[in-house]
Amino acid sequence: MTTPLLEVEDLGVAFTRKGEPDSVAVDGVSFDVQPGEVVGLVGESGCGKSVTSLAIMRLLPERGVRVSGSARMEGTDLLTLSDSAMREKRGRDLSMVFQDPLSSLNPVIEIGLQVTEVLKRHRGMKSDAARREAAELLERVGIPDPRRRLDSYPHQMSGGMRQRVMIAIALACRPRLLIADEPTTALDVTIQAQILELLKELVADSGTALVMITHDLGVVAGLCDRVNVLYGGRIVERAERHRLFAKPRHPYTYGLLGSIPRLDAPPGEDLNAIRGSVNDNLPWASACAFAPRCPRALEKCTEITPAPELVGGRFLRCHNPVPAEA
């Protein structure tokens, strides 16, 4: 294996508030990303997938948040970097695409300025050159008539177009790592398909590694090389995508796949729902956080934290996994 581009080790994020117990959002997450690889972080709301990405990007507020562990990108720990050094890296070496493009673009500044800003800041380009480059970038992400579009404001574009602009900005400096946090959740399916195709293409062309954060297992299935499944702030299963979808071993992954209505399944049958719902502050300290909802829970699941294991190239955190031959 080559040296990983990003190595996240034992990352923990807790939100602290005076007089209240800490709220633990991410609880010892470790994963790595190889250069050019597409890695998925999947989970339901509250599983800590977005907080993980914000912590890596250093976008969490300093007050009231406690971050532990490390996130090394090419040897430098991003979490201990000075603010100014991090500002240099952000947008140049690693960048991010958010879920809602309307609230992440500045509504009162035209698109052109928002794209050229990055080019001038990180690549030291002059206005004219930056504008030409910006038009090329917009063209690359599939925006019709890019030269004229530079003068548009975000509200004059559709959701899909705005997301394309966000991607253009994120890829402007050819970063080696792109983190996409639910980039298609706010979009319609046909537009989602366009954006996913675009991301796939751009990532393959430029050799950028992609961390895809989503709740949609369908999106992951077609896009990611390796998939991390999160529950309650910890990774419960990780495997190469074919292996993961063919044989989910963790009861949570198994249940999640069973609860999705599938287009190619016979309709009318009941779905295998997971009982209960996610709570905050799940108790990993001396139990498995999924145990209360788990159909395969044993007595020890509520007493001992399951230790992470590597079984046949698959990372698993479970006392009683779904049998491999089932």
Binding site: V189, F245, P266
Partner: protein, 369 residues
């Protein structure tokens, strides 16, 4: 008793776009729903699917008379609902209820669950004294899978999935025949979504309910429905039995929609053919002439598609009840027409004073509501 519980005939809802502060001038219309006909049989689930802005929610609201109709007829169990007013309408509403998307904003935060549920029963004269009512309420919360203690609690004390159960219980408390569920699970996590979908189908089996399920997620709609209608820009472009829609999609839009839905199966994802639509949904305030889909259709043919709006029709050899609104459906089905690439249309950018936003996500956005 007729076999059809609901008959909708050529229904249209056009919202006026007005400008001006004192003198409101109508400067145009949003053609949210434009000529939809459908029938729903007793005990069946009809699914309406479409992307944002296609008019599916407006159609659902118009059927329940929560929005005024511009034209068309709605017959519920033989009775014309479109013409009802005041007290008559209020009484008729007992038989058709709605489940909303966002369970938090559709439940009064200051009413306990008991009070939420009993309000409807009292309003429709179904109250039979405190004793009997209470027994009925306990039965209801039990039916939707909530503990009996839930009755004394308030909406904020519940999780999203549980709130949606309360919303369903509220719809059920007046013993309706038809339930219109507008995006009933799209605000929920996948694992909870499955619970609510299972609940809906169990209630249907037990109570013989008829559903109109409106959703953007084709997989969800196909899972719960007996028949599915695909909407695009205010009209139904294809209607088919749920299994048949996947097996034999006939409208170009349905094909594109089906190929765009991500499936949690890497093998399938790798080998299936994608039909990527270019460009965005045109604004329902200025729908394209002819076939509404012609601006994005990879099978568009000159002349006819641009000028003549296709009607829903049954193709030779298609399953009974499978209808499609496309001039060239046969040719596409038999593979006689080849797909071509569509250049995304460059849309005009006007000043900020221009009429409606060109690519509004919903009717509300266009109307500035």
């Amino acid at each position: 008793m007729t076999e059809n519980l609901l008959e909708v005939d050529d229904l249209a809802v056009h919202f006026p776009i007005t400008r001006g502060v004192v003198l409101n001038k109508t400067v145009g219309h949003v053609y949210a729903v434009d000529g939809v006909s459908l029938t729903i049989r007793r005990g069946e689930t009809y699914g309406l699917v479409g992307e944002s802005g296609c008019g599916k929610s407006t159609l659902g609201r118009a059927i329940l008379r929560l929005t005024d109709l511009t034209r068309g007829a709605v017959r519920f169990d033989g009775q014309d609902v479109a013409g009802l007013k005041g007290e008559e309408l209020r009484r008729a509403r007992r038989r058709f209820q709605m489940v909303f998307q966002d369970p938090m904003s559709s439940l009064d935060p200051r009413q306990s669950v008991e009070s939420l549920l009993i309000e409807g029963m009292k309003a429709h004269g179904l109250s039979k004294g405190p004793e009997a009512d209470h027994a009925r309420l306990r039965e209801l919360v039990d039916a939707v899978g909530l503990p009996a203690g839930a009755l004394r609690r308030y909406p904020h004390e519940f999780s999203g999935g549980q709130r949606q159960r309360i919303g369903i219980a509220r719809a059920l408390c007046v013993e309706p025949d038809l339930i219109v569920a507008d995006e009933p699970v799209s605000a929920l996590d996948v694992s909870v979504q499955a619970q609510v979908l299972n609940l809906l189908s169990r209630l249907q089996r037990e109570l013989g309910l008829t559903y109109l399920v409106i959703a953007h997620d084709l997989a969800v709609v196909r899972h719960v429905s007996d028949r599915v209608g695909v909407m695009y820009l205010g009209g139904i472009v294809e209607e088919a039995p749920a299994t048949d829609l996947y097996a034999d999609p006939q409208h170009p839009y349905t094909r594109a929609l089906l190929s765009a839905v991500p499936v949690p199966d890497p093998e399938l994802e790798d080998r299936r053919e994608r039909i990527l639509l270019t460009g965005d949904l045109p604004s329902p305030a200025a729908p394209p002439a002819g076939c509404r889909f012609h601006t994005r259709c990879p099978w568009r043919q000159p002349e006819r598609c641009d000028t003549e709006r296709p009607e829903l029709r049954q193709l030779d050899g298609a399953v009974e009840g499978h209808r499609v609104a496309c001039h060239y459906a046969e040719a596409i089905r038999e593979g006689r027409l080849a797909r071509h690439t569509v250049e995304p249309q460059s849309f005009e950018v006007d000043g900020p004073s221009s009429a409606p936003p060109e690519h509004a996500a919903s009717v509300n956005e266009i109307l500035g509501m």
